[in-house]
Amino acid sequence: MELLSQLFIDYTLRNVALGSALLGLIGGVLGAFALLRQQSLLGDVLAHAALPGICLAFLLTGSKTPSLLLLGGGLAGWVAALGVLAVLRHTRLPQDAALGVALSSFFGLGIALLTFIQHNHQGNPAGLDRFIFGQAASLLGSDVLGFALLGGVVLALVGLFYKEFKLISFDPDYATSLGLPTRGLGILLTSLIVLAVMVGLQTVGVVLMAAMLIAPAAAARQWTNRLGRMVALSGLLGALAGVAGALLSASRENLPTGPLVVLSITAVVVFSLFFAPLRGLFWQGLRNQQNRRRTELERLLLDAHLLANHGRLNPEELALHRGEPLPKARRHLDFLKAQGWVEPKEGGFQFTEPGLQKALALKETLRLRS
């Protein structure tokens, strides 16, 4: 509670929380499309590929203005994405290998440039490496304003091209046949992801950016089957996780924001995977168990009915027929008796009227089913 009130007073905390929330929102909205297009890891590649761009921007201009560095990073990410697309179109290399090559070679170049700058550059290059793990605490009001601006651009473009993005996410072939510029739209969507990565570099850093694009969308996917709701929910969950991570990291000293944001959104994913209605694994497990129980009960009723028809419904015969231990057969018969479906008679049991109807109805259904 105290933290929440600080959210409105503390300048740093407010910036961190707002920055992470904006990142979660943008990443969530774009991630929804990336997830459906099965390009989840493209964001990871773009984020890693941004590092050499940041270093080059610093080498060329000598300035450490975040917007300038991020512009360099965005450009490098964009080049990497286009490179991957070109390799996929012109060679037989599988997609994952192309992504892996782009990711690691750009990142290697980035590390080489980073160390080159650290060892050779006059002036003060410290702080470039904060983009690797992110350093949300260093966010300024102006940075957050810039994020908000980028976020506005992203949301406006997604709103404008919603119909087209929907189509290329679900049925790219149909989109092409309608005469939509599928490739151009794909590149536009990728470019928007580059913008999201630029926001993410300062907050969660290169390495964890992937989670911000994938996790909110994966969580939202569990709750709904409609794209509109999924996009909105994904943005919302991302933003909430951003705020939660920021608050958690402020609750104690020395807690980095990026990992906490990622862990918050991961917690949301895990919860959604298990407890989302319809698709939740927990509910599915429950349904499976109920089905298993019902089937077992039906089999017991049919077995008992068969034996009763021969007038041999007693524990010994039931145990023999079902191949189960005698005490278990006794328990089963007691259970049927408790249901009011069988009643004792001399030398065993017989079906009651409701039990008989139940068994006959069941037989009828089974006959219809088969």
């Binding site: 290399l93 892996g100 170049l109 060892h119 980095p256």
Partner: protein, 351 residues
């Protein structure tokens, strides 16, 4: 011992060990699993560090191999539930594990020598300083660790070559013949995890992806045969290490980063100039084929005329510009299909 030699041999061992396994990762479309493992070993390393209370190699190796296998199992479990796709599962699991590792480091190891930079790109330059006494010889630790791993990977590939080949290219047949692809799969994953951790001190956990993936992907563009792929991958890896080291010394930059950059450069060259599927070679071949087809068309067309046809007439008829006609003409003349005279072009008598 000469420090250059120590670093170079370490790098060669890392590239060999990684390229051997990486080839199978690329062929099995699991390149990004190595990315996930390389990030996710961090909590394992931290755990081992925490348990052993210091820099011990063996617990770190085991801990990280364990977290590597945990990553793979989690990703596979998530994929099997059918709730998320494989790539999304990778992207959910490894950032979470990596975050745990980073968080743990910043909470418990504020003043201990386990800085995150080393996690990212390692410091192969320190390899000469970590030595072990063995048989009265002072050997660099990296030689022993990476040499052992390179040998282990080589033995794995040689001993299970047939099984690996079969389960890579036709997993269902492998299963039907009674090999167990699952066991082989997890053995491969365990070796990838071990190699990642072994190389951790030298090249860092993230750049190991470059050593695992780039050389085999480059070799993939150059050959279609598995033995050639394996040896090319090792060759490219070793070459990138050597050239990368020279460049890094010259520029005073991160050695591992430079090696990855050189490997990336090799990949770019291969994707442009590969004889079978390079971008430029393909374009050149297409151009040649187009000229040949057009030249044949021209000759066939001319054969219907009794008299030589002036070039202007041909250009008008086909709508070609002068340069293209010249290219086609040269091609046809070179092949001996055409004869040029004052009046125009005629097909040669041979054709």
């Amino acid at each position: 011992m000469n420090p250059d030699l120590v670093i170079l041999l370490t790098a060669v061992l890392v590239s060999t060990a990684s390229a051997l396994l990486g080839s199978f990762l690329v062929l099995r479309r699991m390149a990004l699993v190595s990315d996930a493992i390389s990030h996710a070993v961090l909590p394992g390393i931290v755990l081992a560090y925490w348990l052993s209370g210091g820099k011990a190699t063996l617990p770190a190796l085991l801990g990280a191999a364990g977290s590597g296998l945990l990553t793979v199992s989690l990703v596979e479990w998530l994929t099997r539930t059918g709730r998320v796709k494989n790539d999304a599962a990778i992207g959910i699991v490894f950032p979470a594990l990596f975050s745990l590792g980073v968080l743990w480091v910043s909470l418990s190891f504020r003043n201990v020598h386990l800085d995150l930079d080393a996690v990212l790109y390692g410091e192969i330059a320190y390899a000469p300083f970590n030595t072990l006494e063995l048989w009265g010889l002072s050997l660099p630790e990296s030689w022993l660790v990476m040499g052992g791993l390179a040998l282990l990977n080589l033995l794995f590939v040689l001993l299970f070559y047939k099984e690996l080949k079969l389960s890579t290219f036709d997993p269902s047949l492998a299963a039907a013949l009674g090999f167990s692809p699952g066991v082989l799969h997890y053995a491969l994953m365990a070796l990838v995890s071990l190699t990642t951790v072994g190389a951790f001190q030298s090249v860092g956990a993230i750049l190991i992806v470059a050593f695992l993936i780039i050389p085999p992907a480059t070799a993939y563009l150059l050959t279609h045969r598995l033995p050639a792929l394996l040896s090319l991958a090792v060759g490219i890896g070793v070459f990138s290490s050597l050239l990368g080291y020279l460049l890094a010394v010259w520029m005073d930059a991160s050695i591992a980063g430079m090696m990855a950059t050189v490997a990336g450069g090799c990949f770019v060259l291969a994707s442009l100039f590969s004889p079978t599927q390079g971008y430029l070679t393909t374009r050149l071949r297409r151009r040649q084929q187009r000229l040949e087809v057009t030249a044949r068309l021209l000759v066939t067309h001319l054969a219907h005329h009794q008299t030589p046809v002036p070039e202007e007439e041909i250009r008008e008829e086909f709508g070609w510009d002068a340069r293209f006609l010249q290219q086609v003409k040269q091609k046809a003349l070179r092949e001996g299909w055409l004869e040029a005279s004052e009046q125009g072009l005629t097909p040669s008598s041979k054709k």
